[in-house]
Symmetry: C2
Subunit: 235 residues, 2 copies
């Protein structure tokens, strides 16, 4: 219950601080993916270790923001729109934390690959395009979160299909490699797990964008078709 203007301003500042913290966490997660991909391409084992060690920073952000949200809800008893924003934050940071896990997984896999085998060039290239799309989706989903931008959110949802297509392409290519030379089976499986991790990053970015649409429109767009989402953001 807002009992005066002062309290209301404080409340606004608290909400703004939470939003800023989510974006900060998003930036950290983005950086983790980039470093993991750099490590994968360069074979820099120290960088792999750095990414793995930094994962706890992402986790700490999640726990902290969660606590902030609960504190604000308990103390401020926010009304519909603000509550929706806070619930969106709670869900968004779960996805961000899991993107962080995928980054750590990529780093771990890269380590495994370089300590036993060498990445062949064509595979890296395929994964590079796929990860470019996934990273762009993450960046846009966070932008859309910051600016409450429906059109960008819908674009991210749409882009997820591209990541899925790229994944299927990588998979086909890896199967061909393995068939041609069964000695590449182990390393191909490791690359497959990396591709899977990147595909998941796309899924999480899509989830975040769906939460943003929900936050702005007050309508839940998870589990509806792309056409319905587009109709929703145009309306």
């Amino acid at each position: 219950m807002m009992n005066n203007e002062h309290t209301s301003k404080q409340f606004e500042a608290e909400l703004e601080a939470v939003r800023a913290r989510v974006l900060q966490m998003g930036g950290l997660v983005e950086e983790q993916i980039k470093l993991a991909l750099d490590a994968l391409i360069s074979g820099d084992l120290e960088l792999c270790t750095k990414v793995e060690n930094n994962d706890h920073l992402v986790n700490a952000q999640e726990v902290g923001i969660d606590e902030d949200c609960s504190t604000i809800i308990a103390r401020r008893q926010p009304a519909a729109g603000d509550l929706r924003m806070l619930m969106t934050v709670v869900k968004t940071i779960t996805d961000l934390e899991r993107i962080g896990d995928e980054a750590a997984k990529i780093a771990r896999m890269a380590k495994l690959i370089y300590s036993t085998d060498r990445l062949q060039q064509p595979r890296t290239v395929e994964i590079r395009r796929m990860s470019g799309i996934a990273l762009e989706m993450l960046r846009k989903s966070l932008d859309a979160f910051a600016r409450l931008d429906l059109a960008t959110s819908a674009e991210v949802v749409r882009r997820d299909q591209h990541v899925d297509e790229e994944f299927r392409g990588v998979l086909r290519q890896l199967i061909t490699f393995m068939m041609e030379d069964p000695r590449t089976i182990s390393v191909s499986i490791e690359i497959l797990f990396i591709a899977k991790a990147i595909e998941r990053i796309g899924d999480h970015a899509k989830n975040i964008s769906e939460y943003v649409i929900y936050m702005v429109k007050g309508k839940d767009v998870r589990h509806v078709t792309l056409e319905e989402i587009e109709r929703e953001v145009m309306g």
Copy 2:
């Protein structure tokens, strides 16, 4: 703000209804996994389609429970413990919905396998043991949610390591099969994705158990060691 006993009783009933709905959703998800695994073992393509088609029921539960929680928070302005319970519900149903997705994925993969190739017996057996553990974890995580049972929650967290070990075993076995007979590569990859889906189910059950520990103890135990969790539930 509870202004009288009547309101308080209504509030209690609302919380209880939400808890019941989560358990109902959990039961539905459990059933979906069981049917997907049955379909995988029997090669029943109609059952695969049924599981895929039922996924929307799981999604609808998630959206509905989410709305219930937001309505209760906005209307009742719950205090610390009750708010924690509601936040736990919001997170739990996200994991349940994703377990539902994994069940649909298993059904889809089973369909793919049976429409092109035959499952060899040893692979099914390996997956069966792994999925037995994952299903048991899910059941126990829901039991622990219903009874606010810390010891069972900690047990689920511990069990996740077994699923991960089983997964690595299945992976090693599949790599051996593929090396011995490269014609099995495609079907082995499909089985690998199924194993991965089961491993994820274990992860989600573990997440739910960690939320329950948080709800009961008011302490966040995500991202801490197993030893710390055990110290926490004993204390």
